[in-house]
């Protein structure tokens, strides 16, 4: 294993442990904070892979904006705290389904690639090149996504506004 693989493994382990805590924590605010750890480690993994623009966008949008939205949602809904109030009574079946999904995915990807066959060269993908690709080749999908975002935000405002009598 190379040094980058060790670094990536540490980041991935951190992210996975935090993700497990996200879905098992009893306190909703703790779950949101563990989500920050997971998302930050995913962002650091992007940076390690050389995708610097996606990495910083991940940090900015997910850690900076989406987690704050989640915290606002938690504050505005006053969720009860405790395992009984947060989780379904039977946790065995979801755990079995998740393990089956994991086993299926791991079997599929090891069957497709084998251990250690294709190696990702850590080529640097500079922000300028990504931006050029985004605004030349993919400018139409980009505009479509911006309209989707606009429509979603207007919809969210309309939905959560109090109705005037």
């Amino acid at each position: 294993m190379t040094a980058q693989e060790y670094a990536f493994s540490v980041l991935a382990l951190l992210g996975v442990v935090a993700a497990v805590r996200v879905v098992t924590a009893r306190n909703v605010v703790h779950a949101a904070l563990y989500l920050v750890a997971t998302l930050a480690s995913v962002g650091a993994a992007y940076l390690l892979l050389g995708a610097e623009f996606v990495g910083w966008v991940q940090i900015l949008i997910y850690v900076g904006a989406i987690v704050i939205l989640f915290l606002f949602g938690l504050m505005l809904t006053r969720a009860p705290i405790g395992r009984e109030a947060l989780d379904n009574p039977g946790r065995l079946v979801p755990a079995l389904i998740a393990l089956a999904v994991l086993a299926g995915l791991v079997g599929l990807l090891l069957g497709a690639f084998g251990w250690g066959d294709p190696r990702v060269e850590l080529a640097h993908a500079p922000t300028g090149v990504v931006g050029e690709s985004l605004f030349r080749r993919y400018v139409l999908p980009f505009e479509a996504v911006s309209f989707v975002l606009l429509a979603a935000l207007i919809g969210a405002i309309v939905l959560s506004r109090k109705d005037e009598p």
Binding site: L35, Y62, L76, L86, V101, G116, P118, A123
Partner: protein
């Protein structure tokens, strides 16, 4: 240099943890958080393959996924807020009006 299966294993683990969260949680906001975990797993795959094939399409698509995820969280939390305002609870097992 990083072995591709390492990246894919990370993504598979995140995705199955997200599946567990969606199935096991009852609080609607917690379910949305688990969905975010699954979207992140997809993005890890996209970025990994993009760097493997030296094709920027994967990274651009990951950016689109991030934007759509932001829209999804906004709408989802607005709906959750509306449910809370009408029913005083966001327990998903009590919001079963549309269940056969």
């Amino acid at each position: 240099m990083i072995r591709l299966p390492l990246v894919l294993l990370f993504s598979a683990a995140l995705f199955s943890i997200g599946v567990y969260g969606v199935l096991a949680r009852r609080n609607a906001v917690m379910v949305l958080m688990a969905i975010e975990l699954m979207l992140n797993a997809v993005n890890v795959n996209l970025v990994g393959f993009s760097q493997l094939w030296r094709d920027l399409a994967g990274q651009v698509f990951a950016l689109f996924v991030i934007a759509v995820a932001a829209a999804e969280v906004g709408i989802g939390l607005a709906i959750v807020l509306l449910i809370y305002r009408n029913r005083e609870t966001i327990d998903l097992s009590e919001v079963s009006l549309l269940k056969w």
